[in-house]
């Protein structure tokens, strides 16, 4: 896919690399046993270690290590048997130790790759440089008091995985697909809850532009973006800005930027001159991490289906397109729902395309309107399957089915019961339909004449009138046939 941007003078290529910070799904923090529950009362989840009291020492949480290894496996990456925790030294009010424990020279996970899929059916690999573990900082609250800053250390010490990509991304859309894919892999592995609103997944975006074929340009880093929408907006803005600077004869300052979602603009956070010297060195409180190959093998054996495997299965088993399969599998909960629908009645396998459509259009819009995630859907996969069967068996029409779905959503009832209670069963009895058609013809003599004089398009009018009379319950195909037959007899 070509993604060159036209400036006033030249065409430009965008070069993007992402650093994704994914919070490890774990009940306790990376180096302490404090809870990690989001949204708790400030400073209610702070141990002596998290608050960096004198003489307190970090102890590695083995579960977080396993989660990082699993993630590495999911990213098809090299798992390093030997890795080291380093201290990254800097002062900030919400960094109690005065350093962040991170991994610098020897990360736990090395090179890997992630595949993104485009609408036209093509796909592309984005290379991963590394994944390393680090502690999150606390939070400074500047808006609680006019003259004071408060510090909440609940997040202090929570485990993060930093996933660094090569600068292989070439557009805002690719960046969006890439982070969606990472999010989906993490959620399949259950190593991160993927909740971007709560900050469980955030990204720093490195952006530069260049004329095609030239060396990389000077890059800027946009920090801490927590939605795919903002990532795309920020990239588009920044690319435009950089092109304007360069075409105006300027040079790009290597800056760290912040994106303001309300203005859609980026602004410098700090410049290179103020850049920190983090004075990384191995944390003497922690021993290097030695992971046995047998432990890695055990974790590999625990991993079930990943998005790419599932996508392949959908293509092969259900004859879905690559893109449909990619969309469906990109959210684990969506594809779990789809799998559960099929699982509820094996016969539904033949209707997989219809199921996809019902999930991705009607069900999605109901869920979106009500701000509900699919894993909490009031419509169960089993009832969804029943509805599709009812459509396929001509018990109800597609149009009626939409109303039934809304009713199912509101009442959580079985669609069969709804149809029964409301008398929505489709009329397939030809004699009943004939009566309706006769009435319609009788009531619209003028139109009949016009139809007979060659205005074929009026057939739709008769269909509509008849359907209305049947309260939408007439089987459309039978209705059509009868109408055509009766009208032709008028000749």
């Amino acid at each position: 896919m070509s993604s060159l941007i036209k400036g006033k003078k030249n065409e430009w290529e965008t070069v993007i690399g992402l650093e994704i910070h994914a919070q490890v799904k774990s009940n306790s923090k990376l180096f302490s046993n404090s809870s990690t529950t989001f949204g708790s009362k400030p400073n209610s989840q702070v141990s002596l270690v998290d608050a960096a009291m004198p003489g307190m020492l970090p102890v590695i949480n083995k579960y977080c290590i396993e989660q990082a290894v699993k993630t590495g496996i999911g990213l098809k990456a090299k798992i390093n048997n030997y890795s080291v925790f380093d201290r990254k030294n800097y002062f900030y009010a919400d960094l109690p130790q005065g350093y962040q424990i991170s991994q610098y020279k020897y990360p736990i996970v090395g090179e890997g790759k992630v595949t993104i899929d485009f609408k036209d059916g093509s796909s592309k690999d984005i290379r991963i440089v590394r994944l390393h573990l680090e502690q999150d900082a606390g939070k400074s609250l500047h808006d609680q008091n006019p003259t004071k800053t408060y510090v909440d250390l609940n997040r202090s010490g929570v485990a993060l995985m930093e996933i660094v990509s090569e600068p292989d991304i070439r557009s805002a859309d690719e960046a969006g697909l890439y982070i969606s894919k990472i999010r989906s892999i993490l959620m399949y592995l259950d190593t991160c809850d993927g909740n971007m609103q709560e900050g469980s997944l955030r990204a720093d975006v490195n952006i530069s532009v260049r004329k095609p074929g030239e060396d990389y340009g000077i890059r800027c880093e946009i920090k801490n973006l927590n939605s795919i929408k903002f990532i795309k907006q920020a990239i588009n803005y920044e690319v435009k800005r950089q092109i304007e600077v360069l075409e105006g004869g300027g040079v790009i300052d290597q800056n760290t930027l912040l994106f303001n979602p309300s203005t859609g603009k980026t602004r410098p956070m700090r410049s290179k001159e103020e850049a920190h010297d983090y004075r990384y060195f191995p944390d003497p409180d922690l021993l290097p991490l030695d992971i046995d190959q047998s432990e890695i093998d055990k974790l590999i054996s625990e991993i079930t289906e990943l998005p790419d495997d599932r996508k392949k299965r959908y293509v092969n088993e259900f004859n879905l397109s690559n893109y449909d399969s990619a969309v469906l599998t990109s959210d684990k909960y969506v594809s779990d729902f789809f799998d559960d629908v099929i699982e509820s009645d094996k016969a539904l396998k033949a209707s997989s395309k219809i199921i996809v459509n019902w999930i991705t259009s009607e069900l999605f819009s109901l869920l979106n309107d009500n701000n509900i995630e699919i894993n909490n859907s009031p419509i169960t996969p089993e009832y969804m399957g029943k509805l599709v069967n009812l459509i396929k068996d001509d018990v109800i029409s597609g149009k009626i089915a939409k109303d039934v779905l809304i009713e199912m959503f509101d009442t959580k009832k079985d669609p069969e019961i709804i149809i029964e209670e409301k008398g929505l069963k489709q009329v397939t009895d030809t004699s009943q339909i004939e009566i309706i058609v006769d009435e319609v013809i009788k009531e619209n003599q003028k139109m009949v004449e016009q139809y007979l004089s060659g205005k074929d398009k009026l057939l739709g009018f008769f269909v509509g009138q008849s359907m209305k009379k049947s309260k939408g319950k007439a089987n459309p195909k039978i209705l059509n046939d009868i109408l055509k037959e009766k009208l032709s007899k008028k000749h």
Binding site: M53, P54, G55, N89, A93, P96, G98, R279, P284
Partner: protein, 474 residues
């Protein structure tokens, strides 16, 4: 009443010849009589009486029941404030008890107070403390002497008879050197033998808790109690702790004692070399074989230490920022301002010097030349010992290059001060155990210490040899 040792006092207590309360009163009296020594940062009679009530309830089989112990004010204690001898932690009251002090509490010991030290254990004379100098109890009136450091308060507390044992920490000699200066026994065990949990950190890869006592047997009793694995300290060793005191055996038959030639240094007084010589002869007489050995990288130990320790310290002390606890300077206009003022006013000169050195050696562009190289040299120094201990059971050296020096000497010359650690630092870098025991005196009657070193986890042999040598002066 005069109590000579833990074993003696314990049997008096077991035979009901003395009560815990009487012990407490006796020590409170002694401490109050010599307050001018400035041995304690925290001393509170009420706190001692409170403990008496608790200790009396304990069964007599608690090894340290009623034994008066002084605690270096670097160990966090629940019932007494912990300052690390720094203004930045003035009035800091931990809500937790360090691993080592908890073990002592569990065995029924009675904490008489928190002892003075060099600020954050950085120093060799207990003269960098925010709370003033400690005076060596062996000083003559007109000539106050330094007790050594950094655990000078603890060594002095034992020497002044303020307690029968004391905790210390040794990062580059901070137990062994003051033990030598104050004429008491001081052991730094193998790195990792006692948990660092709850000890304010100076240099994590070197910090090691240990003890002071009046004799070798008491040291073995105390060390046994404070050692052990702690899962809260990832560098703590999961090894079986021998029953050091029960296993004490002065026989040196067939033991090979290494005498490193690199420890004969220019400028060291003849008296020290003579004491060393006497100890060598004594060991030979007791059946040991003497082997003259070489530890070729010894000369790099001091510079290596003074890169690694400050580097770790610069990071370890970053947490003292005025945000969460301890001292915070007033009138700061911004966050950076608050850091600057708090840390400028809160830390003393020596601590600041080491933070600056440490920050420098870790900075971009210097890391490889200093810190990384120092780590490589550290490995070479450790290997020197590994090689030597293939043929030797123990190494014997002087503990310090001099006897206790006058209080204000060397204060303005950090390099001279750092040279105090010349004999103790190599073992710290290698993580091996070392003891200092008093062995003879200089012309002025000041005690001189000798040091015994051995391989990792071989404290028992150190105790045994020290036990044998100790008899020379009984």
């Amino acid at each position: 009443m005069e109590f000579k040792s833990i074993t003696q006092l314990k049997s008096l207590l077991d035979e009901n010849k003395i009560s815990v309360k009487e012990i407490a009163e006796s020590y409170i009296k002694k401490i109050n009589e010599k307050k001018e020594l400035n041995i304690f940062i925290y001393f509170n009679e009420d706190k001692i009486h409170d403990q008496v009530k608790e200790i009396e309830k304990l069964p007599n089989d608690k090894t340290l029941k009623g034994i008066p112990i002084a605690v270096k004010d670097l160990f966090c204690t629940k019932n007494m404030p912990t300052t690390a001898a720094s203004k930045i932690l003035e009035n800091f009251k931990p809500t937790y008890e360090s691993f080592v002090t908890q073990k002592l509490v569990d065995q029924g010991s009675m904490f008489v107070g928190k002892t003075n030290l060099d600020e954050f254990a950085m120093g060799s004379a207990t003269n960098t403390s925010y709370f003033g100098n400690t005076i060596n109890p062996l000083s003559k009136n007109d000539n106050p002497l330094a007790p050594g450091g950094s655990s000078g308060g603890s060594a002095a507390a034992v020497a002044a008879d303020f307690c029968l044992g004391a905790t210390g920490t040794d990062t580059g000699g901070s137990i062994r050197q003051p033990a030598s200066f104050c004429g008491v026994v001081g052991i730094k065990p193998t790195y990792g033998l006692c948990s660092r949990w709850g000890i304010a950190a100076f240099a994590s890869s070197l910090d090691q808790a240990g003890v002071f006592s009046k004799n070798v047997k008491d040291a073995s009793i105390l060390l046994e109690e404070i050692s052990g694995y702690d899962q809260r300290d990832s560098t703590s060793s999961n090894v079986q702790i021998p029953n050091f005191s029960k296993n004490l055996n002065p026989s040196l038959d067939g033991k090979i004692i290494g005498i490193p030639k690199e420890y004969t240094v220019d400028g060291i007084s003849d008296e020290i070399n003579e004491v060393w010589e006497q100890a060598i002869k004594s060991l030979e007489k007791k059946g040991a074989k003497i082997k003259y050995i070489s530890l070729p990288h010894t000369k790099y130990a001091l510079p290596t230490y003074y890169i690694i320790a400050p580097a770790e310290a610069s990071s370890n002390l970053a947490r003292y920022d005025g945000v969460k606890y301890g001292f915070r300077a007033d009138d700061a206009k911004s966050l950076d301002d608050m850091y600057e003022l708090t840390r400028s006013e809160g830390f003393g000169k020596e601590v600041k010097r080491r933070i600056l050195i440490g920050t420098y050696v870790l900075s971009a562009g210097y890391y490889d030349a200093y810190y990384l190289k120092a780590q490589k040299v550290r490995k070479l120094i450790a290997n020197d010992f590994v090689n030597v201990f293939l043929d030797c059971d123990l190494i014997l050296t002087p503990t310090a290059p001099s006897a206790a020096f006058p209080l204000n000497e060397k204060q303005e010359d950090p390099i001279k001060m750092y040279l105090n650690d010349v004999f103790t630092v190599p073992a710290s870098l290698a993580g091996i155990p070392g003891i200092s025991i008093p062995y003879g005196k200089d012309e002025q009657g000041l005690p001189l210490g000798i040091q015994l070193l051995s391989k990792h986890y071989n404290e028992q042999e150190i105790f045994n040899a020290a036990f044998a040598l100790e008899k020379d002066y009984e």
